[in-house]
Symmetry: C2
Subunit: 133 residues, 2 copies
């Protein structure tokens, strides 16, 4: 089960400790820069679309099964699968963003808390209601 | 970027062509059977919790960038990143389910459209509102 990088995050965020924990907690706009070979996969996306970005959190720790949520030392440890901690066996980040602009292989999105240089694995539209699918 | 299997789907679904396309389109209940070493990661989860299951869709095609959504030959091709097709460069499935029961490393969930034997990569809680995090 080997992943490939389909795109890379370009963002002003470079420091994990200073980054917001979620996109709606003050994250900046960022660019998803796709590999040219992936461009056909972007057909059908438009500004205004809400999408899920899947990233590989390459600065996370994978040998962690219990954490204190939100790095808060007043909270008890919990299993990582009951938290959104980036530290977990498969550090896949899941980010809900809105597309602001698309310029060739460059997709600008609102409120992404992933760090600059983070590999992007996938982009998926939000599911619509059953009769709109 | 290499993934590890943290759990495996046990489900009555075995045939891709016969499986529902999404969990809310008639998918059965299924079990997520965790590797014993992963059990500490489950602490803090309870029946009734809504979670996201990330799977590795091991029967998908990875060399596909354009598809007809929902295998409907009347619809034009679209880029895979604007669809939820299982066929895509990194075939990671994203499934929203409700936990029905937890028995040691076995987590029973409602409405999962993943096939029997599918590797599970991660489990994440749904994000709550900002002041509940």
């Amino acid at each position: 089960m080997e992943l490939i990088r389909v795109a890379t995050v370009e963002s002003p965020l470079t420091d994990r400790a200073a980054a917001p924990k979620q996109g709606d907690e003050g994250a900046p706009d960022a660019d998803l820069v796709f590999d040219e070979t992936m461009s056909p996969g972007l057909e059908g996306l438009s500004p205004g679309d809400e999408v899920l970005v899947l990233t590989w959190l390459d600065r996370a720790f994978r040998d962690v099964l219990r954490v204190r949520p939100r790095d808060d030392f007043n909270r008890p440890h919990q299993g990582v699968f009951s938290t959104r901690s980036p530290d977990r066996p498969n550090p896949i980040g899941l980010h809900r963003v809105t597309i602001l602009a698309i310029d060739g292989p460059r997709v600008e999105v609102r409120n992404l808390e992933a760090l600059d240089g983070t590999p992007i694995l996938d982009l998926k539209p939000l599911l619509r209601t059953i009769d709109e699918r």
